[in-house]
């Protein structure tokens, strides 16, 4: 009887996982066609950003295509212009799901440039 119960339990746990709304719900902002293939970006965006940051800071090559600013331009929420403000914001949704801390926004702005300009127009 005990064995049967444990077997049932083992079967139930994955079922519960699969059945729940476990995948992150993401606000992709404007969205549209990404600069690279979407699946490739999911796996490699951190390498792209890391490469780009050294090119910009040390060599002054400010290519828009792979810049963090360009990511934010498309993917900041249309509601609050941010990629980190809410639990379903573009960066936060996946990163909290995967339990990976993002340090980018300790220094970098998480807002669209336009939104920042509007607030600081005075």
């Amino acid at each position: 009887m005990k064995r049967l119960a444990s077997l049932l339990l083992c079967l139930c746990i994955p079922l519960a996982w699969a059945g729940g709304d476990a995948l992150p719900k993401i606000d992709i902002g404007k969205g549209g066609q990404c600069v690279e293939d979407t699946q490739w970006m999911r796996k490699n965006h951190m390498h792209v950003l890391k490469h780009q940051r050294d090119e910009v800071v040390h060599k002054g090559i400010r290519e828009e295509k792979h810049s963090l600013k360009n990511c934010i331009e498309c993917h900041a929420s249309t509601k609050d212009h941010s990629v980190t403000a809410r639990a379903d914001s573009f960066c936060v949704a996946c990163h909290s799901y995967e339990a990976v801390k993002i340090d980018c926004f300790e220094c970098h702005s998480d807002k669209r440039k336009n939104a920042w300009l509007q607030r600081n127009a005075k």
């Binding site: 600013k69 300790e106 970098h108 702005s109 669209r112």
Partner: protein
């Protein structure tokens, strides 16, 4: 697997290898063409050396426009506290024997041989090819050795958490920072915020390496000095009438 199967399989494998090579070759020029079509940005070069000439005769005592413009452009606190950062500051000098007074802005002098770069243990402090001395915040550990090394007291440490940064000027707690000569503006062909904001046109910004630039012509014509020239740092910022 029989011998004939093996031979056929190898043939197949070679076919795949060749076609992969051909595919790579035909894709690679595509990338090249993309770069040409979109104008791949070039790295900054040492053919340019950015610098400033500050005319102390034009700099008005009590005027703080350059400081205000710098704070606004770079998202620095507009109301200074004891621990807040300072990228540019106004100095009033008085010659004791004659009583002559001058007013001038002081900031990172963008040395050709910067002591801050010499002492940095992580390589965070560096000089860009075009002469701008910067801190790479990705590498800065906040040890503040560069602040000790700088003869101009140009650098500050960020003590407080920073919010609402200018998207073009990322900055945060735990790093040392200083005047970047508004590198984000220079890279898109604009002038530094202080030079643009100066109502008396006391700050002249330009390329010291170009003999035909306005700044080169002026430093050929008028007497200008580097602050602490005795240190042999060859600063990019020069002062007239000091």
């Amino acid at each position: 697997m029989s011998e004939s199967d093996l031979v056929r399989d190898l043939g197949r494998r070679n076919f795949f290898k060749t076609s992969l090579g051909v595919a790579a070759l035909s894709i690679a020029p595509g990338f090249l063409l993309f770069d040409i079509a979109h104008g791949k940005a070039q790295p900054v070069s040492n053919k340019v050396r950015w610098g400033m000439l500050i005319d102390t005769a034009q700099c008005k005592e009590g005027c703080n426009d350059c400081v205000t413009a710098c704070n606004k452009e770079n998202g620095l606190p507009s109301v200074a506290s004891a621990t807040s950062v300072q990228w540019i500051r106004k100095i009033e000098l008085k010659e004791a024997s004659t009583g002559r007074q001058v007013s001038l802005p002081m900031m990172c002098q963008h040395c050709e041989h910067p002591p801050c770069v010499d002492v940095c243990p992580t390589g965070a402090s560096f000089k860009r090819e075009d002469g701008i001395v910067l801190v790479d915040r990705h590498r800065c550990i906040g040890c503040r050795y560069c602040m000790m090394a700088c003869p101009y007291k140009a650098r500050s440490f960020v003590h407080e958490p920073v919010t609402d940064q200018n998207p073009d000027v990322p900055r945060g707690k735990g790093c040392v920072e200083s005047c970047t000569l508004c590198v984000h503006r220079i890279d898109v062909g604009l002038q530094p915020a202080c030079a643009e904001s100066c109502t008396n046109k006391a700050i002249l910004f330009g390329d010291l390496n170009d003999p035909n630039s306005e700044i080169s012509k002026k430093i050929r014509a008028v007497t200008s000095v580097q602050v602490r020239a005795d240190l042999g740092l060859n600063t990019g910022v020069r002062y007239q009438g000091l």
